[in-house]
Each structure stands twice: as structure tokens, then as C-alpha cells.
């Protein structure tokens, strides 16, 4: 049977295609140009080259920035997990004064414009004796990453039957055992998922970092600094690598999340 032309399906399909193109075409351009043998971004290209990737490996400043970024992302994510997971458990399983208020404001660091958070921290940190430095950046990232872990793990805990924990206690397990043998296995994927998300968010964060950084640039700031000298093909190369890394993390995240829903 010949398929009939269906206008609504056609319109929805086209809209989806446009949205995807809108999001990914610029990325594709960057990836393609990263293999451009020439220093000028023109199409068609005269060939295929890894020249800019080689150059990248020799760029000490860029590599240092990458190392700092990874360090900050790792540290920030750790802070987010260490404070976010207990916070989520407190919110989901215990009653305390101000709980409702905390539930409301915990997302604030995520929803506020980064520039506001940045300015706020810039004026606050010196008051508590934290100078503008890598430490300040780390604390800054940790602050908004707590919100990620907390909300993700909290949502999972809300769906976890509290009588599981009661059953564990009933069967003779003290609270610590219950946490490690019953709660943790059931919120594991939420924790891993929020860790991956935190990591990627931290990796490309600019506004908060910009206000708190002293000398050592993170990768996005370094790239931004390089851009002031024009779009270098080297930037295309590093962007492609970061893009690939992010895709990898996302795939890992979905794979782990999917296994959870078996």
C-alpha cells in the first residue's frame, strides 16, 4: 500500500529536523574545520590534516589549562557529591526546621545567572579569608554542583519505598549497614549520573570562574583568551576534543541509567 502524505507528521518531522540542525550544525562545522590543513576557515578544504591537533600537544598553556579544568571539575564534583548526597538524604528522610525553605532555595545557585553568583562570591570570599584563587574557583563550582547532586539524588530517594529501609532495620541492620547495603545500591545510578553531569557542567563553566580566577586559567577561559586573537584552527581542535569527551560522558551516563531501569 502506498503511504499517504500526512501533513501533521510532515510538519512535526520538519520541525524536529530543524531543531537538530540548529543545535548540531555549528558543532559539525567546528569538527570539520578542526581537520583543515589551512589556517583560514574556508570551504571546500584543501585536504585533511591533524596539524592543529599536533600543535595542541605542544601548546603548554592550553595543556595546563586542561589540567586545571579537570582538577576543578573533579574537585567541584567531589564537593557536590560529598555535600549533595547527605543533603538529599536529610531532605528525603528527615524532618527539620526550615526544610521547606531549603527545598525551595537549593536550586538557586543553578537558576541564578552565573554572573550574579560570580559577583556574590567575589565579594563574599574575601570576607571569610578566601582570596581570589583556584581554591575560590573550586568552592564556587562546588556550590552550584551541590544543587545538581542534591536534586537528582533527592528525586530518586523520593521514588524509593521508605519501607525498604525499615525492612533492613527490621532484619537487624544498623543504619550504616542499611545505607551501604540497601540505600546506596538503589541510588547509585542517580549519583553516577549527577557526577557525570556535574563534571561536564564544571568543565565548561565561565562566568563564576571568570570572577574568582587569579592566574591559572581553566580551559574555557584559556580558549576564550585565545579567541581574542581570532578564531584559530587550534580552537577548533580543542573544541572537538571537548565535544567528543562530553558525548562520551553522556553515553556513559545513559548506559548506566538505562541499566538501572531494566
Amino acid at each position: 500500500m502506498k503511504r499517504r502524505f500526512d501533513l501533521p507528521t510532515f510538519l512535526v518531522g520538519s520541525a524536529a529536523a530543524f531543531v537538530l540542525a540548529f543545535i548540531y550544525l555549528p558543532m559539525v562545522v567546528v569538527v570539520v574545520y578542526s581537520f583543515n590543513p589551512d589556517a583560514v576557515n574556508v570551504f571546500p578544504m584543501r585536504g585533511f590534516s591533524l596539524r592543529w591537533y599536533r600543535m595542541l600537544l605542544d601548546d603548554e598553556q592550553l595543556l595546563a589549562a586542561l589540567r586545571i579544568s579537570l582538577l576543578v571539575a573533579l574537585g567541584g564534583t567531589s564537593i557536590g557529591l560529598l555535600l549533595g548526597v547527605p543533603g538529599a538524604i536529610a531532605l528525603a528522610r528527615h524532618d527539620f526546621p526550615g526544610k521547606r525553605f531549603l527545598e525551595r532555595i537549593v536550586l538557586l545557585p543553578l537558576t541564578l545567572p552565573g554572573i550574579v553568583t560570580g559577583v556574590a562570591m567575589l565579594s563574599f570570599f574575601p570576607l571569610i579569608g578566601v582570596p581570589v584563587s583556584l581554591l575560590a574557583v573550586l568552592i564556587g563550582h562546588g556550590t552550584f554542583l551541590i544543587a545538581i547532586t542534591l536534586t537528582q539524588v533527592y528525586a530518586r530517594l523520593r521514588r524509593l519505598d521508605p519501607s525498604l529501609e525499615e525492612a533492613s532495620a527490621d532484619l537487624g541492620a544498623p543504619p550504616i549497614t542499611t545505607f551501604f547495603k540497601v540505600v546506596l545500591p538503589n541510588i547509585k545510578t542517580a549519583i553516577i549520573g549527577s557526577a557525570l553531569l556535574s563534571f561536564t557542567l564544571s568543565l565548561d563553566e565561565i562566568p563564576v570562574t571568570f570572577f574568582l580566577i587569579a592566574g591559572d586559567n581553566t580551559l574555557p577561559i584559556q580558549i576564550w583568551a585565545m579567541m581574542r586573537r581570532g578564531i584559530s584552527p587550534e580552537v577548533n581542535a580543542i573544541s572537538t576534543l571537548v565535544f567528543a569527551g562530553s558525548i562520551g560522558l553522556i553515553l556513559l551516563g545513559t548506559a548506566l541509567g538505562g541499566r538501572d531501569k531494566e
Binding site: 519505598d161 519501607s163 525498604l164 525499615e166 525492612a167 533492613s168 532495620a169 527490621d170 532484619l171 537487624g172 541492620a173 544498623p174 549497614t177 547495603k181 540497601v182 545500591p185 538503589n186
Partner: protein, 356 residues
């Protein structure tokens, strides 16, 4: 002293007193059921025995030891939860072994006990499955196995059959009861299903508004209810409210113009307000032609007759205005048409006199 003792136990949530000064002694090996409507405090009472709620005041003793302030993991009781609460990330075997592992028993012994108890609940072939791969009834059996494998002093069951369909529920009632007999274990059961309570229990504690209204054997609960609430909540009943009329040792209930002979346990003064509870199966309905028999005879008209399979159910409006429901075997009479003049009657011994 019973294996479980509750002394003046009170539980308050905020301003609401959910359990009001409860005294109770549960015997070793007994099957005791808390029965009542939702919000009567039955689950809260069970949860206090299990250690999931702490009493606001009063004491709880388990096997002679005060446990009022002890957390669940320090009490020798196990619970079968309404939602089963099986650990979703563990297999059936791991679920059942969990409690024994907490007691740090040797591996071989855990293995042996788990195998044994899984065979007992006929789940041995499912040992490697995850809970989500099991049906409701199977999950229920695993939940029971996980609790009894620890050999608790008392097994608590919180509406364990509530999520099952009717047929499976009846089967599981039977299985649980025979399991309890076989193990000789003390079962404390919570349900709002009166039939379940009557068929399974040695004693039923009927709860209402945070108090035990009556605690008795099922037969006594049904035949000799002590309060209006118990009479009304357990089974179907006709409740007739009126005043006592006494002549010497003979008592009667004045209802409209009629005098219904009653046989209270004690002497009652004339003019006192009481309720009379008569079970529908104790009531007979006859056409009003001629045959006036002994005992209670009240005139009325048929409002409705329904065939319910095993019985005819007849609703009669008495001359005095009350409705009386009678259930009789089909052989007694055919369908009585609406508006038929009838007399209803019962043996005064089968009616229970209650406080108004």
C-alpha cells in the same frame, strides 16, 4: 506475662492521639489480629511493637524485656510489610539471607536455613530471581520467608494480603494460618478485612479511635459483641435502639408501640436507653397470615427481596419505622413481593443487648 505486653501505651502525632492508653497482653504462640477501620490506630500499634514508632508514653515488653525505646534492629521481631519491601537489587535468596547475615551466622548455616525456608513457602525454584520478576503472591511468600527465617519471638504482619486479588488472598490466608500452626510462632496481624480476621485469628482485637473496643475469640466477637461499634463493624447486623421496660425478671425493649422481649446478661432498669443487635441470619420473615409464633414477632412490610445465591436477603420496614434485614436459606420461602405484609421474628437468646 505474655510474650508481648503493652502497658498504658499512648502515641500522639502532633495534637492527634492515635493510640489512647492501650493495655494488651499477647500469649506465646497466639495468632492475634488487630482489626479496625483505617485510622483506628492498628498499624501504629503494630509499628510500635516493631520499633518503627516510639510510644509517646507507656511501656512495651517483648519476652519480659522492656523494648519501648529500642530501634527495630535491636528487637527480636520481624515484619511482613504491606508493600512487601523486598530489596529490588537483590535476588530472592539474598533477600531471605539478609537477616541471617546481620546475625553473622556461618555461611553454610545461612545457606541451609534459606534453602529450607524457601522450600517451606514453595519458592525454592525462584531463588535466583529478582523480586520484580515475581507475581504479587510470590513476592508475598518471599516477604514471609525473609521474616520467619530469623525465627523471631513475634512475627508482625501489616495487612500483608491487601494487595492481592480475592482468590489469591483466600489461599494465602489459609497458607499463613497453617504456617503459623506448624511453626508455633506468635503472629500479630493487622487487617481491616473482618473476614480475614475471623478466619485466621485465635483472638481478635477490634480497634476504634485508638482504643481496643473488644478483644476476644472470633466466635465471641461475632456472637457476643460488647459494643455497638463491634456489632456493627463485624459482619452485618440489625441495630434497634430503644428503652428498657422491666417487669420483674422479664425485660423488654420498647420500640415505638411494640415490646420486644430481650434477655440481657444483667438486670437493667426501666427507661434505660439500649441497642439490640440481631444478626440477619437469626431473623425469620413470614407472611402475616395467621401463624403467630413464640418469641419476638414484629409486623412490617417487605421493601425489597434480593437473591444472593446461597440466601434470600429480605429488607423489611417495621411498623415502628426501623429497617430489619433477614437472610434465609432459599428453601424457606420464595420471593416476597414488595409491599407484602409480613412478620419478622427471632429467638430472644440470639439478640445481643448493648449500651446505646
Amino acid at each position: 506475662m505474655g510474650i508481648v505486653e503493652l502497658r498504658k501505651v499512648v502515641k500522639r502525632f502532633g495534637d492527634v492521639e492515635v493510640v489512647k492508653s492501650l493495655d494488651l497482653s499477647i500469649e506465646k504462640g497466639e495468632f492475634l489480629t488487630f482489626l479496625g477501620p483505617s485510622g483506628c490506630g492498628k498499624t501504629t500499634t503494630l509499628r510500635m511493637i516493631g520499633g518503627f514508632e516510639m510510644p509517646t508514653s507507656g511501656e512495651i515488653y517483648l519476652d519480659g524485656r522492656e523494648v519501648s525505646a529500642l530501634p527495630p534492629y535491636k528487637r527480636d521481631v520481624n515484619t511482613v510489610f504491606q508493600s512487601y519491601a523486598l530489596f529490588p537489587h537483590m535476588s530472592v535468596r539474598q533477600n531471605v539471607a539478609y537477616g541471617l547475615e546481620q546475625k553473622r551466622l556461618p555461611k553454610a548455616e545461612i545457606e541451609r536455613k534459606v534453602t529450607e525456608v524457601l522450600a517451606m513457602v514453595r519458592m525454592d525454584t525462584f531463588a535466583a530471581r529478582k523480586p520484580r520478576e515475581l507475581s504479587g503472591g510470590q513476592q508475598q511468600r518471599v516477604a514471609v520467608a525473609r521474616a520467619i527465617v530469623n525465627g523471631p519471638t513475634v512475627l508482625l504482619l501489616d495487612e500483608p494480603l491487601g494487595a492481592l486479588d480475592l482468590k489469591l488472598r483466600k489461599e494465602m490466608q489459609f497458607e499463613l494460618k497453617s504456617l503459623q500452626r506448624k511453626l508455633g510462632m506468635t503472629f500479630v496481624y493487622v487487617t481491616h478485612d473482618q473476614e480475614e480476621a475471623l478466619t485466621m485469628s485465635d483472638r481478635v482485637a477490634v480497634m476504634n479511635g485508638g482504643r481496643i473496643e473488644q478483644i476476644d475469640a472470633p466466635v465471641a466477637i461475632y456472637n457476643r459483641p460488647k459494643t455497638r461499634f463491634v456489632a456493627d463493624f463485624i459482619g452485618e447486623t440489625n441495630l434497634l435502639a430503644g428503652e428498657v421496660h422491666r417487669e420483674g425478671s422479664a425485660h423488654a425493649l420498647s420500640l415505638g408501640g411494640a415490646r420486644i422481649p430481650i434477655e440481657p446478661d444483667a438486670v437493667l432498669e426501666s427507661g434505660r436507653g439500649i441497642s439490640l443487635s440481631v444478626r440477619p441470619e437469626m431473623v425469620t420473615v413470614r407472611k402475616a397470615e395467621g401463624h403467630e409464633s413464640e418469641g419476638v414477632v414484629l409486623p412490617g412490610t417487605v421493601e425489597e427481596t434480593v437473591f444472593v445465591g446461597s440466601v434470600w436477603k429480605t429488607v423489611v420496614r417495621l411498623k415502628s419505622g426501623e429497617r430489619v434485614v433477614a437472610t434465609e436459606p432459599p428453601a424457606t420461602h420464595g420471593e416476597l413481593e414488595q409491599g407484602t405484609s409480613v412478620v419478622v421474628g427471632w429467638n430472644p437468646k440470639s439478640a445481643v443487648v448493648l449500651e446505646a
